[in-house]
Amino acid sequence: MRVPLLEIQGLRVGFGRGAYRKEVLHGVDLRLERGEILGIIGESGSGKTMTGMALLRLLPESAQVDQQEMLFDGSDLPGLDEIAFGSLRGVRMAMIFQDPVGSFNPAKRIGWHFRQVMKRAEVAGMKSHTTGDYRSRAITLMQEVGIRRAEESIDLYPHQLSGGMLQRALIALVLALEPDLIVADEPTTNLDKVVEHQILSLFKQIQQRLNAGMIFVTHDMAVAASLCDRIAVMRYGEVLEVAEAQKLFADPQHDYTKLLIATARELSTPSGPRQEPGKDKPPLFEVKNLSLVFPPSGPRPAFRALDDISLDIRQGEVIGLVGESGSGKTTLGRALLRLYRPSGGTIRYKGQDITLASEHALRPLRRDLQMVFQDPGGSFNPRKLMKESLAEALRAAGVRDKREIAARSAALLERVRLSEEHGERFPHELSGGQLQRVAIARAVALDPTLIVADEAVSKLDVSVRAGVLDLFRDIQREKQLSMIFITHDLEVARYMCDRIAVLYHGKLLELGPTEEVFTNPSDDYTRTLLETLEYSLGGRNFGQADYGAAARRVSHAD
């Protein structure tokens, strides 16, 4: 019988001792063949990352690892001492991390990393490279993973390269080792969608070339489906089910898997009929030729974040601002609320020019214009109970009577499907989804005309995302609010928005009704962006990893 590349049984990981001991992995079984990609899917806290770290002995010393069996290529891993294990790690086993920027030594050039890793692999004696010319080999590898101008990039420092380029460099480093086992821990999560797809196709290529076994950890169903041969679903430190990728999506066994897939599918259809608010009424906001330049600070030169942007926001519509990181979508949202001072152009709110209005002049308007933030944890004063934060908003809205404040905040909590008991808690005692619900309640408490939601669901787990989105939509309909929905996630935008504005490098590329933008985009960049959607759960190319076309077209965008 063929020996599997990796066989894990009963893997347990715990932290702390005695009564304080907390187990985070409760007996995980996994098997991996050569040339196979095994996906591990799970939400935060599922223990998916811990599994790979335990395998490579990268957990902090305070972790206790225990297993019934852990065989790598037939040899017993726990039985190896540090020296013997050292001849495997970084030689036959390698890891790729979520944060490519943090994975490089900030004080050293890219080339230095290659030299050290290659040298060490040779000293370990496992690889038989004929020459010691690290530099030219490193450049070749960097070209293979698609790093442009590799001869120059090799002499740059990590902070001079983009996240996508650094992730490529990290993959090239792993490629230099020619390992038998690669553990990739959410390697594309921090990257923009278009770049993510390029990197995924790169993964497929190198995995086929090395014929290595790969464990691919991710929270993204579509990513796993497109890359993995088999998928293991994890929750709370346990593997719920393992199946062939196609079979898992066609016929999920576990209820949790079904929920995950259903949630992801739900987003592929609109949440309800699109609104077409009357064009006869004057718009709520009129933005003309808006631009914003951040002045230089320290080593950073001046930066034009918004460039000649014009748009109208009508009463009761939801506008999606989509674009990749650095496109200016968050800046635009904040500039509309006058949290930033524009450098040019005009912003009119209800006909009043607020472009350069002073903080003092803005105060009476502030309550009309609310925001829900990306980071649920930072949205509340950590020292205040949730009900105190709500009470503060109600007081700002002019409610003075204590009993009325209490009654109203209880009603608000109920409106966002929480109970009064949640009001008695501190921010750190609530989950991200619950915090985001309270944030919505707080915004609504001020009875605004506009809510700007800045990536409001991107930090939430997939399973709670739809619930928060629906809450947004319900409240928006109920109060006939206008909303600006800032997101990098096209599915979320399609699900939520009546109109879509696409931003790129601070410029507004197009603005139109959602269906029109999605079916018939007028800009090339939008088209490239939309192509990534085809690989999502409802998309035409779901489960495939051929991103070649997209990769070629936008190589300039990275």
């Binding site: 932290f15 702390g16 304080y20 902090p60 305070s62 609320l337 949290l339 903080e359 803005l362 105060r363 009476p364 308007l365 502030r366 309550r367 214009l369 609310q370 925001m371 933030f373 990306q374 980071d375 930072g378 949205s379 509340f380 004063n381 950590p382 020292r383 934060s389 503060e392 908003a393 700002a396 809205a397 944030a439 707080r442 001020l446």
Partner: protein
Amino acid sequence: MTSFRRFLQHRTGVIGLLIVVIVALAVLIGPALIPYGPEDMDFMAMLAPPSAAHPFGTDSFGRDVLSRVLLGGRVSLLISFTAILIAAVLGSWIGILSGYHMGWTDGVLMRVMDLLFSFPSFILAMLLMVLFGFSSANIIAAIALVYLPIFARIARNTTLLIREEPFIQASRLMGRRPAAIMLTEILPNISAPIMVQASVGFAFAIILEAGLSFIGLGVQPPTPSLGGIMSDGREYFSRAPWVLTMSGMAISVALLGINLLGDGLRDLTDPKLRERT
């Protein structure tokens, strides 16, 4: 309440707190329990070594060293504490104002703080003492001025960090007044690093005050102070080392307690350094 309970699990922090409480009690009520006043001279027992009657010995005038150390400790601790309190309150105010408003307020205030911060602390304090006289109020003012920029910087930097936090922005969007935001949203959230710095600063202020009095530019005799007693003691430290040693150890014990307490506070407030259990 919860954070206090967490503090109680910090072993060295609790030891520090205990030492600080004991030292505080000793200097506040100790002098009343000792049969000798700090000025009472006993010409029969000049430079007497430590004994049951005089646990810390006596000095060249036959004065009880324990009594002088306790009273001197009271003077030194009160001066240092008041100075740090003033520096912390004023510094936080300047720092928050500067960090929240940015712009030219920030520019002007911080340049002044930078200038103050560039002078060696002891030199600046010494110069001010010489120029303005040796009263306790002047010592307090000099020490406070020396530490002012440290608090202002910390307050400003933490304010800059949290002013972009969503919950501050949310407060702005509620249309609340800047003063209210600074007071209820920012101040409580920068108080932790200020507290930690205050404990460190308290220790340094004690050293600074003792140093000034030691060279004779601080608290003037006959008022006892820890530095002053040490200074007396060095004149005859080979014949009667206890005067210098006992007062020096008294300073060290007080500093040890404050430093341990400060460590406890810092570990409590800095999640990066908090032990994982």
